[in-house]
Amino acid sequence: MGRWTVVTATTATMTLVLAGCSGGGGDEDDGGGGGGEGATVNLSLGQDVETLLPMDSNVGDNISVLDVVYDGLVRYDPETTEPYNYVAESVESSDNTVWTIKIKPDLTFQNGEPVDANAFARAWNYAAYGPNAMANNYFFERVAGYDEMQGETDDDGNVVEEPAAQELSGLKVVDDLTLEVTLIGPFAGFATMLGYTGFFPIAQECLDDIEACSVKPIGNGPFQVSEWNQGQNLTASLWEGYTLDEAPTTYDTIEWTEYAGESSWPDFQAGVLDLGSPPPAEQAAAESDPDLQERYLEGPGAALTYLAFPLYKDGPWTDIEFRKAISMAIDRQGIIDALLPGQRVPADSWVVPDGVPGGEAGTCEWCTFDADAAKAALEKAGGWPEGETLTIHLGQDETEEQLFKAVGDSIQQVLGIPYTLDPTPDFFANRSDRAFTGAFRSNWFPDYPLNENYLAPVYASGDAENGNTNFGYYGEEFEAAIKAGDEAPTLEEAVTRYQEAEAALATDFPTVPLVFSVNSYYYSERLSNVVLDPFSGEPKLRILEVSDAM
């Protein structure tokens, strides 16, 4: 999964909607029994789907399309999120540094080209080559030879030297079906990453005409994109030459309608679409409808929203007691109930509990609302400077603005600290320039299901002097635990080490966890076996069943 951008409203992007059955999006009345031939599933997408090139796709919506158009080396168990081999015959390593990947024989792309070691190598090399500016470029940072494929830049950020290498030196095609990957250091979670879109293979024909391929992908999965009117709708139909077993049996066409932010809930209510999530105002009405309640599905979401501080700048926030005070002053449940009922849950950990291996609830000691304790902590921290106002910086996203206004209100109410919100579209630029003068909103959506992904990319820097770029945080114990996890011989042990890193983080308390997302869908009467992926939160399309026996 990709980063969760501020501008992408979390509520708006991932509404998945199924509708219609036969042909042109029909009604309950028509269609033959038991689905089968001709059944159509209509899904909704956010309009930020700009490309269908796997190496360039990292937002939830591209991924839900690509997930049925391409097959990765591994796929994730819908119950546990643990990876299992799919296109890969085996993924093995003795030292977690050199990985040998064997690919199943006789697999082909939809244009007939073989899915072999070269198919993966060409995709990965293309993504890792800096000047191609692929969204998933950074996934290959851990592979040996990555640095040589990036251009040199001067202090102003202008490219002064082209990359020295065109291919990853750590990527070796041993034979047609064997790929050997050498990492820059041991990383037990490498096999877990391999199911992500960034690691999908591409055909040579795709590489020859990248532009065409990003609009009309040549996949190796069960579905083929037949038509994409960018901005409006996208149709994919079952590929007849598919030989692996994970393909739907009760429908053969998926039609996505693109939604540009406005809720598709009325379309679901009107029966045009079969799966939807209500906006906050409609939540209560949906919950009180007994008929709808029978067709409701909810799962934990993986996105964490938290409050961070410019620890690189002098201010009350450099005192841990102050951060505790802020954290305990926020009435998380009250805010959710008032503004986003059923769409968020209070967070009291830095890794989503149950969503990924190693995630555990309650690791944050000071994440429950306690006005008295908050006041006491503020006093211990020396109070808030008289006459100053706490600025809360955030991106321009309406839902987030509402949420953080309430957070500010809570702080103002309990601690008497006046606040202002600073919603700016330049949030990211300001953050990397370290231009913040107060607390700021942060959000993290993990790329692959492992607790490490909530920790290392966000907090680790190895820079004891300046700390990491975003927060100015550096924790010695934390860094050591992350390193120990990377070097652990097995994934289980690595997960335990990473949990220790989270514990170290909880002690240092650099950021204040606020809320986790919740994925919830209502579905129509003709759907069954609707299962939400505990990691991405999206319905598993490949096992979805459509029945027309209405």
Partner: protein, 312 residues
């Protein structure tokens, strides 16, 4: 409504009347005083203007003090702590309504006043001197008309988004006011230019010129009075237009900046909850806005009738 439309609309009533404008004005005043709808409209406007000027008279609650625990309390009636209820954040709706009137009304008056001054001046100069002055003004008008207001507003407001002008009551509306003015004057300019062209060749103007009156004197004493009456009639409608425009800008998130409150922001926020059974969050601010707009338009219509002798 667009100023451009409004201007054109008034063009229909252009009459090169030779009668001295002073009589027209006093006539108009006499007619207006006697119309009940005008009196009611004027009272409504005076009421809201008073509210904007002295919010303390109507509420003592701080609109910025919001308690999440008091979220979405329904209207309790006068005498209770929250007569008009609270919004999802637990802010008092009455207090917001009262304090929100100031940015909304001030913005509208400011924008229209500035637009009229700019538009009338440029239109007068262009129509009177023609040649290059006219060419420059007409081209400028065209450029501003070609760029859609909303796009321009968006571009400019995002261009200056990092400029913190402050949080005073004038500061929060400064940017939207500037942008709306920049794209609000063209109608007046076009209109005044047209009526100057007509008035310029009238006998009495030619006579005044022949008698050696200075350009300034001819313009202000003889040409301008012909145009100024109908322009005045446009003003209330234009003010109403800006009040509505503020709501649209607020809906798009580029108007008055939160935490400052305006009717537009309240309407935009309230509309999210209207279907969830909290219609009052929308109806209170919307009611105020509609009432004000109606009063202004009624006043504008009456003014036009009164100031345009031909329509009487």
């Amino acid at each position: 409504m667009s100023d451009a439309t409004a201007a054109k609309e008034a063009t229909a009533g252009v009459v090169p009347d030779v009668a001295a404008s002073r009589t027209v004005v006093s006539d108009a005043w006499r007619t207006l005083r006697r119309r009940p709808d005008v009196v009611v409209a004027a009272l409504v406007i005076a009421f809201f203007a008073f509210m904007a000027a002295f919010p303390g008279v109507f509420t003592s609650t701080d609109p910025q003090s919001c308690i999440i625990g008091d979220s979405k309390i329904r209207p309790q009636g006068f005498g209770a702590p929250h007569p008009f209820g609270t919004d999802p954040h637990g802010c008092d709706v009455l207090a917001q309504l009262v304090h929100g009137s100031r940015p909304s009304l001030m913005l509208a008056f400011l924008v229209v006043a500035a637009s009229v001054v700019i538009g009338v001046t440029l239109g007068l100069l262009a129509g009177y001197y023609l040649r290059w002055v006219d060419a420059v003004v007409s081209r400028t008008v065209e450029v501003f008309l070609v760029v859609p207001l909303l796009l321009a507003a968006l571009l400019l407001l995002s261009l200056f988004r990092n400029v913190h002008v402050g949080s005073g009551s004038l500061d929060v509306i400064l940017l939207p006011a500037l942008v709306l003015t920049m794209f609000g004057w063209m109608g007046y300019a076009r209109y005044v230019r047209a009526s100057v062209l007509e008035a310029k060749n009238l006998d009495y103007v030619t006579a005044a010129k022949a008698l050696g009156a200075s350009d300034l004197r001819v313009m202000t004493r003889h040409v301008l009075p012909n145009a100024i009456g109908p322009v005045t009639a446009l003003v209330p409608t234009a003010i109403a237009g800006v009040i509505s425009a503020e709501a649209v800008l607020a809906f798009l998130g580029i108007g008055v900046r939160p935490p400052a409150i305006s009717w537009g922001i309240m309407i935009s926020n309230g509309s999210e909850w209207v279907t969830g059974g909290y219609a009052y969050l929308l109806l209170f601010p919307l009611g105020c806005l509609v009432l004000t707009v109606l009063a202004l338009v009624a006043l504008g219509d009456a003014l036009r009738d009164a100031l345009d002798p031909r329509l009487r």
